[in-house]
Every structure is written in structure tokens, then in C-alpha cells.
């Protein structure tokens, strides 16, 4: 049973139910307490994140945590069950008895019927790993405030909810490669490390979902829920990245973040459009009809993503940065998919 830990000074959070554990999950990656900044991306990491996780934010986190607890009250540990045979109490399967097996698990009813010795197998109850895949590419800098800030707040909120549910939560920023992660760990007291980690996340690089998810799937052996928080502006498409997760037995959870001005830009006249990731230049003369065509194209792109996820029973949420993050999280609660 968890032992109450004394309340810690600082933001008013609920007492921790368990001690924080840091485990290292990714093989081959040196464990670091603090991710360091890359020199190449220093120029884009100077956005002010000091006010992201202020007292107001923490209050909202607490509220969300209470809502989550009320919604799924009665469950003590590791709500999600993995389909793994182990020492649980729920019957999972039979197998043939072999010499040396524990005869206490022999299903005598089956023996009485078919005169064969079979062992009863039970489900293994273990805690779920939640991986928050945070898009830290350059396109996430767009917006005022930047989409990245919003994504960070959402990631922090989901992390807190997950930690509150005794799940192991890790945060892995990515762009054209996987950035330094925050290793998955359990315990609500970890949340401050999460804040600190998010404040120091590097921003930069292209959006390459496919290679990053492929690499992730190969590096992280413990399967679990992979929450993709991104704008999904990958020139090669979003399908490859999401499929990599699916094919590698991860449970994708898609959360698309966009800025309203991306979907509905107020441009006109002769402009040179600069892709913030590739640096590609495109001279355009923006007229009203062109703007309307762009808006339609953007909506179509998001609809494609939605259809893709829906067709594959992948939870999908789309939000703009003006929607308060707590509203989004509550919607996620209502729709389900993150908490069960």
C-alpha cells in the first residue's frame, strides 16, 4: 500500500501516493538528469517559458486531477491492463501441464471432463507506460503564444493525470530526430521535474514523423500509450509516423495543435512565403480567393488526419491554441481514450 508522504512546500498539490521512481527505459541512450541545449537551436529556444507553469496552471492541474479521480474512482493501481499472462487473478488462458509446473493451477474441472492436465493462466496486472511525444520542430514556434507552449501545457497536464493514475509517464520531444527524453517514471511529485524538463526543451529541426516514430519504436521496448502532440505538418505526411506506432504495438493517441492564424491567415498582397522549417521561399500574390482556397486546403488536411485516425480507431483531438488547455483535457476525459 502506498504510504503518505508529508506535503511538500511549493504549489498546492495532493500528497504523493508513492515515491517517485526514475527508471531508464531507452537502451543505448545515456541517462541524463537535465537535457542540454543544442547550440544550433539556441536561437529558437529563447522563447519565454517562465510563465507557462504558474500558480494558475497548477490550480487547473489540480482540478483536472480531481476530475480524473472522480471519474475513475475505485481503481487503485495501474488502471490499464495489458494483455500479458502473469500472476493476476483473472483467468486468461489454459496451457498443457509440464513437469515442474505448480499443480495448484491445474484446472481440475477440465481434467474431469476431458481427462487432460491443463494449467490455468491468469492476466498480469502491471502499470501502463505513457509516452508523450512532443513535437519540438520549428513549425511549433509559430503562433502567439507559440503552439509549443500550448503543447507543453497539454503535455504537462496529461503527464500529471497519468502520474496521478500511477502510470509511468515519459516525455520525448522530437523533430527530425528524437531529442533528449524525460525518462518514464511514476509519482505525482515528478511533476516539477516535468515542468523543468519542458522549460528546457530544445526547439528546432524539421518535422519528420516517420523516422522519429520508427526510431522510438525500436528504442522503447515497453509498449504503451503514445500521445502524439503535434501540428502534424510533415511534408511526407502523417501516415507513416502513426503507422509505425501501430505496427509496433503502441497505442497512438493523436492530439493536433494549430494556431488559428495558420488556418485562417490574414495576408494580402505580394508576399514571399518562407517555410519556417525548410527555409523554402515561395512568392505569392495573396488575394481573397487564394486565402479561401488555402483555408479549404488546411481544413481538408486536418480532415484527412481525422479520417485516418477514425478509420483506425485512434483517438483524435484537434485544437487551436486559443482553447484553454484545461478545456481540452476535459474534452479528452469526456471522449475517453486517455483514461479508461
Amino acid at each position: 500500500m502506498a504510504q503518505r508522504k508529508p506535503k511538500q512546500s511549493g504549489p498546492a498539490l495532493a500528497p504523493m501516493a508513492d515515491e517517485a521512481h526514475e527508471t531508464h527505459e531507452a537502451h543505448g541512450v545515456a541517462a541524463r538528469r537535465r537535457p542540454s541545449r543544442s547550440r544550433a537551436d539556441r536561437s529558437v529556444a529563447d522563447d519565454d517559458r517562465s510563465g507557462l507553469f504558474d500558480e494558475e496552471f497548477l490550480k487547473k492541474l489540480e482540478y483536472l486531477s480531481l476530475v480524473a479521480r472522480k471519474t475513475f474512482a475505485g481503481r487503485l493501481r495501474a488502471d490499464r491492463r495489458t494483455r500479458k499472462v502473469g500472476s493476476g487473478i483473472e483467468f486468461a488462458d489454459h496451457r498443457r501441464y509440464s513437469s515442474g509446473d505448480d499443480f495448484r493451477y491445474i484446472d481440475w474441472n477440465v481434467y474431469g471432463r476431458i481427462d487432460r492436465l491443463l494449467l490455468r493462466l491468469f492476466e498480469e496486472e502491471e502499470d501502463l507506460h505513457i509516452y508523450i511525444m512532443l513535437d519540438a520542430s520549428r513549425s511549433m514556434r509559430i503562433g502567439n503564444p507559440p503552439k509549443l507552449h500550448y503543447a507543453m501545457q497539454v503535455a504537462a497536464a496529461l503527464t500529471y493525470i497519468g502520474l496521478g493514475n500511477l502510470d509511468r509517464v515519459g516525455i520525448i520531444p522530437f523533430s527530425d530526430q528524437l531529442h533528449e527524453p524525460l525518462a518514464a517514471s511514476r509519482g505525482k511529485r515528478r511533476i516539477f521535474k516535468v515542468f523543468e524538463f519542458l522549460r528546457n526543451v530544445r526547439v528546432g529541426g524539421l518535422t519528420q514523423l516517420g523516422p522519429c516514430m520508427d526510431k522510438f519504436a525500436h528504442q522503447y521496448k515497453r509498449r504503451g500509450l503514445a500521445v502524439l502532440v503535434s501540428d502534424f505538418y510533415d511534408p511526407r505526411g502523417f501516415e507513416e509516423g502513426i503507422n509505425e506506432l501501430r505496427y509496433n504495438k503502441f497505442e497512438p493517441f493523436v492530439l493536433q495543435v494549430y494556431d488559428e492564424r495558420e488556418a485562417n491567415p490574414s495576408l494580402h498582397g505580394d508576399l514571399t512565403l518562407v517555410d519556417c522549417e525548410t527555409g523554402e521561399l515561395k512568392e505569392v500574390t495573396v488575394s481573397r480567393s487564394l486565402l479561401e482556397a488555402y483555408k479549404a486546403e488546411h481544413d481538408k488536411y486536418c480532415a484527412e488526419l481525422n479520417q485516418f485516425c477514425t478509420a483506425r480507431a485512434i483517438p483524435y483531438f484537434r485544437t487551436h491554441t486559443k482553447l484553454p488547455f484545461d478545456e481540452l483535457v476535459l474534452r479528452i476525459f469526456r471522449q475517453g481514450g486517455f483514461l479508461r
Binding site: 513549425s139 511549433m140 509559430i142 508576399l271 514571399t272 518562407v274 487564394l290 488555402y294 488546411h298
Partner: protein
Amino acid sequence: MSFLAPIPLGVIAWTAAVTAGLAVAAYILKMRRRRFEVPFSTLWQRVLREKEATSLWKRLRRLLSLLLTLLVLGLLLLAATEPRLGAVDRDSRSVVILLDASASMKARDGGKDGATRMDAARAAVRALLEGMGGGDAAMVMRMDGQTTPLSRFESDMPRLTSLVAKVEASDTPADLRRALGAAADALRGRPNPMIILVGDGAYDPEALASVTWKKPAAGAAGAAPVAPAAAAAADGGKRLDLIDMSGIDVRYQPVGSSGENVGIIAFNARRYATDKTSYEVYIEVQNTGKRPARRKLVLYNGDLATDVRTLELNPGERLRQIYSRGGGEDTVLRASLELEPPAGAGTPAAGPPRRDVFPLDDQAWALLPARRKQHVLLVTRDNLYLEGAMLVYDNIEVDKLTPDEFEARLAAHKLPDYAAVVFDDYTPAALPPPPTNLMYFNPQGEHSPFRLRGQVAHPHITEVNDNHPVMRWLVLNDVNFDSSSVFELDRDKGEVALASSVRDPIMAARRTADRKIVACSFSLGSTDLMLRVAFPLFLVNTIDWFASDEADLLTTYATGTRARVPLDGVLGVSEVTVTAPSKRVSRAPLVEGQATFYASEVGVHVLRALDRPAGRAAGRVLAEVSLAANLSSPTESNITPAPRLELGGAVLAAPEGFGISHPRSIWMYLILLAAALLCAEWLTFNRRITV
């Protein structure tokens, strides 16, 4: 459509080519575009790929914007050519209107309610301007003692009319010759030139005779003017002062009705040279009308009437009179002609009171030079001849001191202020302070006012500076001298020789900023000059020069004349202020002590030289002189209007052919259309229609 083209068409064509080229280049050249960062250009590329199918229409819309800009530029340039609707006006004329603003135009016979001829002339000019055709260009010149263009050639008749409304008649006579010359020069090279003279015809006949003119034949209004060389050859007389008006259509519009006038055409006064307390007055009065006239002539000395007499003049009679007067301290004399009241005046039978039609020449002023009594000190041991000669001049009061007494009183500061001190055979070391003037006889030593270089025996005066006021009317060539010192004069210091003996100056004068000095290098005891008539005259001239009493100073001028007036040797001042009788203050240049005076009004003018430029804070008055100006013009006083004028032997016809026409200028509409197009282009751009 026709074009006035105030700007040459070549310039407009060149401007059109340059501006159109700039406009096209601005569209063709890649302009710096705003850069805008987008997160996902792939979406934009998809959209633009679809839009490429309609790129032709997009190019056409941008071309529309370029065409609009070129159209606006074209409208602006077209407006600059001043186009006019309708056929080319072949009868457009270049007209110079000479508006007579001379003194005679102040005669009050221009119409009812005491309107002057000037009012009638302005109305006539207004009618001419309003009746000008759409293609006519007019210039109005004001004609009096000077010729003043009021505008350049323009077709804006309302503006010209407003300028004409401000013209008032002056006190100066008309200088027709100068006006015709200016008009002919202004019309040189212009199409269909025409001069219209609007006035009363009171002009100097010599002015009309100094014009070379041949009346253009009917229908030859567009003929090019004859070149001046050809005109001179045709004339054969080779008069260089002739004004060539060949090829110019000259018309005359008379104004005025009455010719009855009696005026003062000359008035002056002067003091007697030997008795400056007395003076004589000269006056000339003429009846220019066709009926006998009766007037009362009053002479005033200041405000005091000193003489009143009745004059009866026959038509055309000119009366001259000279009065001798004595006494009277005031220096301003005025003559006034007044209408005699008719018999039974004040009764209904007498009818309405008569009024002088032309009152300007009924008043005349004359100034007497001011008399200033001079307090003179004679420093001499004993010289009866000198003392006696001083007594000749009753305008001086003489004191006498010996040299010792002079030095003692000067040292004790008990010497009164004298206008002049005469040193006889005495050269003091200390002098009375300025502005006391000094006269020396036989100065010696280092304190001599002029440097001495030796002696000459038995000098004989061979050269006399007659231009100097001190030497006026003096005969010295038979004066005997035993001996005399010789002065060495420094011309840079303003020292001038008054009399010389074969280039050896023995009489000299100098004026500085604060005093004047006259010196004779000989002793009175070594000459018989004191026995000559020239000696007292020399003393009188010297004292008068000290007192700035210029006997030759003219103080009365005719209006419209320009004269150089000496201002008592004022140096270091470049201009003087002139206060006219109307209290209007103007400035006149002062060069080498002489001011240029232009008499513009009848009355007394005051010229002042200040030690500070006019316009700044008032400074000390360095010199002041009063001058009188009178009309004094028989031509202007003869106000009988001339119903016709002859020029070159031909009678000048009245102006005709001025019909009321409607303005057909459309340049303003073009400007407005261009502005409307600019607004439309701005709207379409901002509405992203032409973008």
C-alpha cells in the same frame, strides 16, 4: 479640341515618355516583397498549383492596374496642355490693356455720385476683360509716372478683374511713351497683338509722336510683326528713340466728359541771396476750360494767409505772377485756388453748390530754405576788415575774443557753443568741441588743420573750385598776395582745394563726420582780398556752408519726376526714409551723399537719413530735408478728355469684337477624373480585386 499649351508640347511628350516608362518599369521590376513565415508551405503549394490554371486572369488583373496608372498619368499630362473644347480659336489675341492711372484720372466727371474717371476706366477695363474670347490672353499695365504690369499674360479674367479693381489714380502725370514701349516689348512674338489704351487722352503730344506705327489692314490681325530693322529702314529717319509698334493693333477707349478746370501749373519760392529774411514767390495759373473762370487765389505762409486775390481767366488763359514777401518764419508756403461762390449762393435760386471737377491741381506747395542764425566767434587780435565783413551778414551774431582770452575760456570750459569759430592768424592747440565749425586764416605749426609744405612768394590764384559752395560766385584771379603757405592735401581724408596757385593749394576745405573746416594759408594782412567784394561773399558762403544752407538746393519738384537731392554730406548710410504727405513711409537709396527722390504725391515729403537702417529701431537723425511736390503739369491740368487719339497719323479706333464667351477650359475636369481614377485604383487594390 485645341490646346493652349502653356508648357511646350515637346516637354509634355518627353515627360509622358519618362513617366510612362517609370510606371511600366515599376510593374516589371521585381519589387521587394514582404516576407512572411509559414509553418507548412506544402499546403500553399497545393493551393498555388490549382491557382496556376487561372494565372492568365491574374496577369490580366495586374495589367489592369498598370493600365489605370498609365491612364491617370495621361489625364494629368493632357490637363497640363490646357485643352479646350471646340474648334481651334483662330481669333485668339494677346492683349495689353494700358490703364491710365495718372493724375487727371482723379477728375470727378466719371459718372454720377462723384465718380471719378478712374472708376469709369476700371469699369471699361472690366467690360473688356469679361468680353474676351476663350483663347484670348490679356495683360493689364498701370500707366502713370511709371509703367507697372499688374500680371503676366493670362486667360484668368476673374483674376485680372480683381487686380484692376485695386488700381487707384496717382498724383503723377502719364508717361505714355514709356507705357507704349513696355506694351510693345511685352507683345513681341505673340500672336495677334493688341494694345488697348483706356484713359482720358491727357498725354504729352510728343509721346504720341515718338511711335512708329502703321495701322494693320482689316483681316491682317494675325500678321507677324514687322522686324524693327525693316521698320527703321522704311522710316528712313533713323530715329533711335522711336518705339516700334508695327503689326500691333492699337485701340483707344476714352473716359471722362468735362474739360472745365483751372489749376496751378507752377509754384515756387526762393529767398533773396543778400536778404534772407525776404523771399519771392512765383505762381502760374491756367484756365484749361472753354468758359471763363473765376477763382480766388490764397497764399499761405504756414497757416497764415498772406495774400488773397481774385483771378478772372479767359478760356485757355495762363496767368503768371511774382510776389515779393518779407517776414514770416514758417518755411512752408501754400497756394490754394478756391471756387468763388456764385451770386446768390445759399439761396434756392443759386442751385446746387459748385464743385471743382479736378481739385488736385488747386493746391501747390513751396518750401523756403530754413534760416538759421549763426553764432560765430572771431578769435583775432585786431582786424577791423574781418570784423566789418562779418557785419555784412545779418544772419550771424559775432563775438570776438583775443587768442589768450579764447584759450583761458576754453580751458575753463566757459566757452559758449558756437556754430563757427574764425581763427585769424592764430592756430590753437585745443579746439572747441564739435560740432563747432572752424575757419582759419594763416594756420601755422603742427596744429594746422591742413599739413603745410613750405611757402610761396607772391602766389596768384589760378584755379578756383567753382563746384564747392564756398567758392560760389567768387572772382579771385586778381587778388594780390605777398606770400602764402601751401597746403598739402590728403584727398583720402576728404580734403579739397578751394583755390590754388598753379597747383599749390592755398585755400582748402574739409568736412568730417562732426564738423567742417575752411582754411586760407595766407594771412589777411598779406593780401588785398579784404578789399575785394569777394571777401564778404567768401565769408557768407563759408558761414552758409557751415549752416548747410544750400542756396542751390531745389525744394520743389513736379510729381512723377526723379531727382537727386543732396543730404548735407551724409556718409555711411545707404538709404533714407521718405515720408510722403499721406504719411506713407518708403525708402530711397543714398549714394555719395545724394538721395534719389521720386515725387509720387502732391504735398511736402520729408527725407531723413538715420544712423540705423530703416525698419529697425529708430535711430538718430543724421540729416533731414523737406521737399515739396506739385502736379505742375499743364498736360494733366488740361483735363479735357480726348475723344480720339492719333497715332502714326491714323486715328485709333475703339476696341471692338469682344463678345462674351463661355469658358471652354476642361483641364479641371481632367484633374478631377484622374483623382477619381486614383481613388478607384486604391479601392480595388485594397479590396484585392486588382491584386
